[in-house]
């Protein structure tokens, strides 16, 4: 157990109903200092609404939000000082240049002027900093949004679908940037996405939301364990072999040709084979069936594919 002081984001039974329908339903999020929290779910699952609730942009129907272990109802401005965010789509003033955009925000955050050059360099917009933002590509606007979020040296960075509109090289850049932040600056990050593959390589923890409810929240390694291979045995009489495996403690399934056991490591696979042979079953084949993280994700979110 970590101490309470390390809790950066904590929600309790956070609920938001819009015209009677719970778009966010009893969500409990827990993010600790230094986490890169991948907040996943199909489009329309409630990710952006949850993020708006975290920032106090909209008020919950019930439940609480604590940032830095303080209730945002009473300490919203204090905690927002430590938060940088990019919600839904980047906010920008099209008639201003990138530098002017950042300057308009910098005045309100009271950070040194050099910080503008710093964040422009981080998102690689230095070269285009003097151009009006309305002429920017979506990817550049996205990068400006990330620069704005970074401007106040936040301890918590909330990025809602930050790779939207970016090309593969841009996605890779943002990914590298995000991975480097907690290491170099002790920043905690919440990053939302509808694609598991996008956060899989950087997240330390994942929360999966579907139809407004959290369906999974744990470390990414725990999720990987869930997805590791299942072993399929093709045997001569699966129906009668099935109770044998069950009685020996295996989570088994069967059909008319084969038996499948879940979460089998080398030792338990070997024991299962020995057990079957000992009871005179003919083992024709032993195969590994790898469930990808993506299919596990789809299974958890009710198979709703988002394109």
């Amino acid at each position: 157990m970590t101490t309470i002081a390390d809790s950066i984001v904590q929600t309790e039974a956070l609920t938001k109903s819009i015209s009677g329908k719970a778009v966010v339903n009893e969500v409990n999020i827990k993010i600790e200092r230094g986490d890169i929290y991948g907040f996943l779910g199909p489009n329309g699952a409630g990710k952006t609404t949850t993020i708006r609730l975290l920032l106090g942009l909209t008020k919950p129907t019930s439940g609480t939000v604590r940032l830095f272990d303080r209730d945002i109802r009473n300490h919203r401005l204090d905690v927002l000082r430590k938060v940088g965010s990019l919600v839904e789509y980047p906010s920008y003033y099209g008639h201003l240049t990138a530098v002017e955009n950042l300057e308009a925000v910098r005045r309100l955050l009271d950070v040194p002027k050099e910080r503008i050059d710093d964040v422009l360099a981080i998102v690689r917009l230095t070269k285009d900093a003097g151009r009006q933002v309305k002429g920017y590509s979506l990817g550049m606007k996205q990068r400006l949004g990330i620069a704005t979020a970074l401007l106040g040296n936040p301890e918590l960075l909330i990025l809602d679908e930050p790779t939207n509109g970016l090309d593969p090289a841009g996605i890779q850049e943002i990914r590298e940037l995000i991975i480097s932040l907690p290491r170099t600056k002790g920043v905690t990050i919440l990053i939302s996405s509808h694609l598991l593959s996008e956060v899989e390589q950087m997240a330390t923890r994942v929360g999966i939301i579907a139809k407004g409810s959290m369906v999974y929240q744990n470390s990414i390694s725990h999720l990987r364990e869930q997805a590791i291979s299942r072993i399929r045995f093709t045997v001569n009489d699966p129906a009668s072999a099935y109770p044998l495996l069950r009685s020996s403690g295996y989570e088994a399934e069967w059909d008319d040709r084969s038996l499948t056991i879940g979460r089998a490591d080398n030792a338990s696979t070997a024991e299962a084979v020995a057990l079957l042979v000992k009871h005179h079953y003919d083992v024709y084949r032993v195969e590994e069936q790898t469930a990808s993280l993506e299919s596990l994700f789809l299974e958890m979110t009710g198979g709703e594919r988002s394109l």
């Binding site: 000082r81 789509y89 201003l96």
Partner: protein, 239 residues
């Protein structure tokens, strides 16, 4: 508060607001000079009456609405409200800064128009002395009488996502000024007519049928009401 105003200033200084601000003074300058070139002689009070009828009856209320809409336009367009509301700034400050900027723009408009009037009078050789007191009262009065309208238009412009909607509503409600401004019963209570009632000089130089006075209580009451309504809306505004 200074930093909030500086931030707003960065956004407004690069917008088209300055070109719009030039309309009224430039129009006054042009008509004044053409009249002078045609040999029309005039007095300061004639010119003030002429300018304030056109300006205060129509342009000033229209411009107040346009300024309010422009100051909110870039927040609606690029997700600015969401950005502002997720920064560590109280909404009251955001609201106050926007209101202060609108009334500052209206004040600048009045100053430029006054400057245009002085230039016209100087070139056309209006008889001295310059009636400073009357000019100051007229221009300052026009500005003060715009405050309720500015508050109302700020409310409309924050609530309505489109730029055109609050401006169009404002225009539609400004046009009846021609009639309502002449009504001693309704004029003093109509926010769009108040600037003209305050600005048109009365007494010697003023038109005899335009001596309806503004009602200070109505002005202050509507100002407080509109400002509070807009502020409450801003505090609850979804982003």
């Amino acid at each position: 508060m200074m930093s909030m105003l500086q931030s707003e200033w960065i956004k407004i200084k690069r917008s088209a607001i300055w070109a719009i601000m030039a309309i009224s003074p430039a129009g006054a300058l042009l008509t004044g000079l053409i009249a002078g070139a045609r040999g029309a002689s005039g007095t300061w009070m004639d010119a003030l009456t002429f300018i304030s009828i056109l300006h205060a009856m129509l342009l000033l209320p229209l411009l107040t609405g346009v300024y309010a809409a422009m100051i909110c336009r870039y927040e609606h367009a690029g997700g600015g409200w969401k950005l502002l509301f997720s920064l560590p700034v109280p909404r009251t400050k955001i609201y106050a800064a926007k209101f202060i900027l609108i009334v500052f723009m209206v004040a600048l408009t009045q100053l430029f128009l006054l400057a245009a009037l002085l230039i016209v009078g100087w070139i056309n050789g209006f008889p001295s002395p310059v009636p400073w007191r009357e000019l100051a009262l007229s221009f300052a009065g026009g500005w003060i009488a715009c405050l309720p309208l500015a508050a109302l238009q700020l409310f409309a412009s924050t609530a309505l996502h489109s730029f055109a909607a609050p401006v169009a509503v404002n225009a539609v409600l400004t046009i009846p000024n021609v009639l309502i401004g002449n009504s001693s019963r309704f004029g003093p209570y109509y926010p769009w007519a108040q600037p003209m009632l305050a600005m048109i000089p009365r007494g010697d130089g003023g038109l005899p049928d335009l001596t309806i006075h503004i009602a200070p209580a109505a002005l202050i009451g509507s100002f407080v009401l509109f400002l509070l309504t807009g502020w409450i809306y801003m505090m609850k505004k979804p982003a």
